[in-house]
């Protein structure tokens, strides 16, 4: 036995909730330079609570970077793979930041957090402005970019480098760097995930601690946004005991849920309040182990496993994330050149029994020939059998193809299946 307990490295960063985790008896581990709770009691129990009730995660290790300024949208259209300028106020999008080669530096969620003071303005005003010959309404000027903890520095460096290069290259707008500001906010982030997540937030609001949408922002259809009408991948401003909260209907578990961004000083009180009101709904604090099994069942990729600098988005089945029609963005040439015809592609694998094919285990064909590699694998708590994501030869990637995983010397049959492995029922 050689259990890996590496949380005592003195140089690990601590989230604002570190003491709360220790008080709850969490097993702390080093992850991407942070001391994080891997589990509080049982990783399977925490996983199941998120699938059937609600779980509370500290994900403050993730980088929350703001990009602000009049040129922010155009800059992000250039710097990132997606078309960011088309995001409506308070809308989020899953996207990526690519290298020149088209390889993935990180996957990101970008939100247009521009406070819609004018989004609530009746359309007639804009019409009046235009009739009076005024310029078009000012474009959105604030975006929140959420990056993986391990990629905080590479993402910040790439953004800053692209901002400098752009201002130097664009002779018509030499002052561009002054029009965009990139800031690492170091805010805290907690996720409330599971079918009872919305009930927990309702109770927090009923207790008077949470005010959702104090500024009466409206959705694109003109109706005021509430907890119940907030859609998936939409964000709304909120306050927790007067502290500003960015409340988003997003997550990494495959369940309904929310992510709440708050200043570090208020994070502990928010965490305690969510656990307290959540008790009636079966809330449990959940660690990184459960987060990993939940995201894997939901078929969501993890940087460093399914996504790397050597992977093109299309190989990971994420070609749709790249807005190739954009005139110019970093990585466009690499993406358009595409991977080699025989470059491996990402598939889901389902295995019988109890032994999981894990990251770096080889994938074999019927003759025992090496045809790929597992990037993530686990015994699925929800499905009861092992699941894995793997890169395999493209001619062996069709669902139903029977391959095998070399599990420490034993070839265990593995069938290619569609992703995700688990999809929640929308009725609940």
């Amino acid at each position: 036995m050689s259990p890996d307990q590496s949380a005592d490295q003195p140089d690990l960063h601590r989230t604002p909730l570190h003491d709360a985790h220790v008080a709850l008896g969490a097993t702390m581990v080093g992850f991407a330079g942070w001391s994080m709770p891997v589990k509080y009691t049982s990783d399977v129990a925490e996983h199941t609570a998120v699938r059937t009730a609600v779980g509370l995660f500290d994900i403050s290790h993730m980088a929350q970077i703001t990009v602000t300024g009049p040129d922010a949208a155009a800059f992000l259209d250039h710097a990132l793979a997606g078309r960011i300028s088309t995001l409506a106020p308070l809308q989020s999008r899953y996207t990526m930041i690519l290298a020149d080669s088209g390889g993935i530096i990180d996957d990101l969620i970008v939100t247009n957090t521009h406070l819609p003071a004018d989004a609530g303005t009746p359309p007639s005003d804009a019409a009046t402005d235009q009739a009076a010959g005024a310029a078009e309404p000012a474009p959105p000027t604030e975006f929140l970019v959420v990056a993986n903890a391990a990629n905080r520095e590479p993402v910040l460096a790439a953004l800053q480098e692209r901002l400098l290069a752009r201002s130097g290259a664009d002779e018509s707008a030499p002052g561009d760097t002054g029009a965009v500001t990139i800031t690492d906010t170091h805010r805290a982030l907690v996720a409330v995930q599971g079918p009872h997540a919305v009930a927990v937030l309702h109770d927090l609001a009923a207790a008077g601690d949470l005010v959702v949408n104090p500024g009466h922002a409206v959705a694109p259809d003109g109706t005021e946004i509430t907890l119940d009408t907030l859609r998936y991948y939409r964000t709304v401003p909120a306050t927790f005991r007067d502290a500003p909260v960015t409340l988003s209907r997003t997550g990494y578990t495959g369940e309904d849920g929310f992510e709440l961004s708050i200043a570090p000083l208020q994070a502990g009180d928010l965490w305690e309040a969510l656990l307290a009101v959540g008790q009636a709904h079966g809330i449990v604090p959940a660690g990184l182990a459960a987060r990993d099994t939940l995201r894997l069942e939901a078929g969501m990729p993890l940087y460093g496993h399914e996504l790397t600098l050597d992977t093109l988005p299309v190989q990971a089945g994420l070609g749709r994330v790249v807005a190739t029609a954009k005139d110019d963005f970093v990585g466009k040439a690499g993406v358009e050149a595409g991977p080699a015809a025989d470059a491996p592609v990402l598939v889901g694998l389902a295995l019988p029994g109890r032994r999981a094919g894990r990251a770096d285990y080889r994938v074999l064909d019927g003759e025992g020939t090496d045809v790929g590699v597992v990037t993530s694998g686990v015994l699925s708590p929800t499905l009861g059998h092992p699941i894995a994501m793997a890169y395999v030869r493209p001619d062996l990637s069709a669902p139903g193809t029977v391959l095998a995983v070399d599990v420490r010397g034993t070839a265990i049959p593995a069938t290619v299946v569609e992703l995700p492995f688990y999809r929640r029922s929308k009725e609940s």
């Binding site: 036995m1 259990p3 049982s42 990783d43 894990r358 708590p381």
Partner: protein, 128 residues
């Protein structure tokens, strides 16, 4: 069960296994510390009855959702019993590591003086 539970009546290895000697037969399991570090155990591979093992041999593995850890033979001898319950209830190795979650029994062929007493093992995990 606390992760620092170290029963006085057992002996230990630095690799987080426990050994209970009864006459010339030693029972082997994983410690509470190891069980806590692994998380929920989902699969246990054990040696076969009749196998001859020497100290340090890899004789099995304990797999959790999170990771796989090898089991090293802490003593030398012939395997005389394995815990068949773990085939269907692997989780016992983690939930009851000192009782129903024992792994295998060896008829000793050699000494046990290299093993740690409870105080020494407790000090070992305190330093980990």
């Amino acid at each position: 069960m606390a992760a620092n539970d170290v029963p006085e009546n057992l002996t230990y290895t630095a690799e987080h296994e426990w050994v209970a000697v009864d006459d010339d037969v030693a029972t082997v399991g994983i410690t509470a510390y190891a069980a806590d570090a692994l998380g929920d155990v989902v699969y246990v591979a054990l040696p076969a009855v009749g196998d001859t093992v020497t100290i340090g041999d890899v004789v099995g593995e304990v797999e959790s959702h999170k990771s796989v850890s090898e089991i090293f033979a802490p003593i030398a001898g012939e395997v005389v019993a394995v815990n068949d319950r773990l085939e269907a209830e692997a989780e016992l190795a983690g939930s009851a590591p000192y009782e129903d979650g024992w792994l295998f029994r060896v008829r000793l062929d050699g000494g046990t003086e290299h093993l740690l007493d409870a105080a020494a093992y407790a000090a070992h995990i305190a330093d980990a």
